[in-house]
């Protein structure tokens, strides 16, 4: 993959923050998937780097799950290329997927078995190369106990999964994904069904894993979840990737300052040329330096209630980039 680094960097208008492509963990080129007449994924170029927490956003039916399934070789792409951990998919699935942990569209397990037995069986069903990416047969039950502890199921690991709540099943699914200490985690709605405390626990766990070097590809429609965790964002709209940026760049100050004052008229008089917009007591000023603005206002005798640089919220950004769904449009 490092050999065609030159073309990778030029690829896609959104990859402005790409400097080094040797550490690309997920790469798709013009990935396209058609189900009959419906184009679920329409030519997307994903780029996920090692160490990223990549937030894959999109409305229901925008093609998130289909893309995830393509990455994992479950759904076969109509056209386009996919590389995961530097090897083509689905061609190299047998070697690549041993280094990937995944949660796709909800967890699944055998209800009559215990959580621990499910993990052991899941691990035993594939080949077990001893190596840096996870142990073999010998430490299997120990690894199962470890990951159960990690996701907070240590106490109920021996209970039959049939009796698990949705949140516990979700945790078990995550445990299964972690069984082999993967380099890459592909998680589709990982906090589905969890209570707020559970969501926080899982978020902390994922951030800890990321700090230890695990790349995380997180697909979700929960903005708050993405905003709190992710370093980079990919936004899907009707099967197309309309945005791929680092979160820091997206929510960087816009160069304007927001001001709330009980004396708006005086402030307007003082800031005449710089005023961009006024909405009652709320003013928007063209300056990227809130500190000197504040000094000027105070010197001019204008009382200031709130003052700060304007930032786009992720919600604004997404609203701008996606076309609203027409009222009569059927969500796909």
């Amino acid at each position: 993959m490092s050999t065609n680094a030159g073309t990778d960097g030029a690829d896609g208008a959104n990859s402005t923050d790409v400097t080094d492509v040797t550490d690309v963990v997920i790469l798709t080129r013009a990935l396209r998937k058609q189900f009959g007449a419906v184009t679920a994924v329409d030519g997307i170029d994903l780029q996920v780097h090692a160490g990223d927490v990549y937030g894959f956003l999109g409305a229901n039916g925008s093609g998130k799950t289909t893309t995830v399934r393509c990455l994992l070789g479950l759904v076969l792409a109509t056209s386009g290329e996919i590389e995961v951990l530097g090897s083509p998919m689905p061609g190299s699935a047998a070697t690549v997927l041993t280094r990937v942990g995944a949660l796709v569209e909800g967890p699944a397990s055998y209800g009559h078995l215990s959580g621990r037995a499910n993990l052991v069986m899941h691990d035993a069903s594939g080949r077990a190369p001893q190596g840096p990416y996870g142990g073999g047969r010998r430490d299997r039950s120990q690894r199962a106990a470890e990951v159960l502890e990690l996701v907070g199921l240590g106490a109920v690991g021996r209970r039959a999964v049939r009796a698990y709540s949705l949140g516990m099943r979700q945790r078990l699914g995550l445990a299964a994904a972690l069984m082999r200490r993967p380099e890459l985690l592909v998680l589709d709605e990982p906090t589905n069904g969890l209570d707020p405390q559970g969501i926080r626990e899982i978020r902390e766990l994922l951030l800890r894993l990321n700090a230890d070097g695990t790349t995380i590809f997180l697909s979700s429609h929960l903005l708050a979840e993405i905003e709190q965790m992710c370093t980079r964002i990919g936004l899907l709209d009707r099967g197309q990737l309309v945005l791929q940026e680092s979160l820091a760049a997206l929510t960087a100050p816009t160069g304007r300052t927001q001001l709330v004052t009980p004396d708006p008229a005086a402030a307007v008089a003082l800031l005449d040329g710089q005023l961009e917009h006024r909405d009652g007591e709320r003013l928007l000023v063209r300056t990227s330096d809130p500190a000197s603005l504040n000094a000027r206002l105070v010197a001019g005798g204008v009382r200031v209630r709130e003052l700060g640089p304007e930032r786009h919220t992720l919600e604004n950004v997404i609203e701008q980039r996606t076309r609203a769904r027409a009222t009569d449009e059927v969500p796909r």
Binding site: R69, V75, V104, A108, H112, A124, S125
Partner: protein
């Protein structure tokens, strides 16, 4: 591989199926022992007329009782469940990303289904033998019984013939197993796959009774099922047994190839 066997035999429903398979012959043996009303030779399930004379023969009679309907139904259910059941439970996607190769998974499922067939046939024969001995008693002809052709078969003769019969019945079920497995890769509903396989068998059995379908009959999967009775002729009449095995192998190859072609190129969206 062991995983699939553990999965299959770790399930209560597998054991219920085996229990039910053995229940019917046992009930029949009980009724025979109670009434001593064996069907006249040439009517009713094969060998049933002979077992009143010698309970040991009930092993074969039990196979003949379950073979036309009970056994193929249970095989169709287990085979239809193989892939579609995992798809319905959602575990198929996790197996594939573990990763387990699709071809490998299909082979494992086939082996597991064959293991089930073998377990079913052997248990029916073994329990049939025991039940026959206990309820119907040991035959009066010490050291041998009369073959279908009228000559005497020694216990050794009987033993190897019964082993071959068990194998032949197992092989006879492979066509259904492969068909069930193929259908199981087509749909995400195990019931649909099982019913499809059963419908095929019912169709085949029906065509065997229609004279107009005579040109088709040598190719029907159920055509040679009861030919294992030929093993108890003296000398053994091999021709139909050979044809039966050959035919089943053709069905296995065709349906497995179809199942493989479908499963390895299919989108797993369950």
């Amino acid at each position: 591989m062991r995983v699939e066997l553990v999965k299959l035999f770790g399930r209560r429903r597998t054991w219920v199926a085996l229990f039910l398979l053995n229940l019917l012959p046992t009930v029949v043996a009980g009724l025979l022992a109670w009434t001593r009303l064996a069907p006249r030779p040439g009517t009713g399930p094969a060998f049933l007329s002979a077992v009143v004379a010698d309970g040991s023969l009930f092993a074969i009679a039990a196979l003949a009782i379950v073979l036309p309907l009970f056994l193929p139904i249970s095989v169709a259910v287990v085979a239809g469940e193989a892939v579609a059941g995992e798809a319905q439970a959602g575990t198929l996607r996790y197996l594939l990303i573990r990763p387990v190769g699709r071809t490998r998974l299909l082979v494992r499922k086939l082996v597991a289904v064959i293991a089930f067939v073998l377990a079913a046939v052997v248990s029916v024969a073994a329990i049939g033998f025991l039940v026959g001995r206990v309820l119907l008693g040991k035959g009066s002809l010490d050291g041998g019984i009369i073959s279908v052709s009228g000559s005497v078969l020694t216990p050794t003769d009987l033993a190897w013939r019964t082993v071959v019969a068990v194998l032949f019945v197992t092989v006879s079920m492979l066509g259904v197993a492969a068909l069930g497995l193929f259908l199981s890769t087509l749909t995400d509903s195990p019931q649909t796959a099982s019913l499809g396989a059963m419908a095929f068998l019912v169709g085949s059995s029906l065509l065997l009774t229609v004279d107009a379908a005579r040109p088709l009959q040598p190719y029907l999967p159920t055509r040679y099922w009861l030919s294992f009775i030929d093993l108890y002729r003296d000398p053994v009449l091999w021709s139909n047994l050979e044809r039966g095995v050959g035919l089943q192998l053709v069905y296995v190859v065709v349906f497995l190839a179809a199942g493989w072609a479908n499963f390895t190129t299919r989108d797993v969206t369950s």
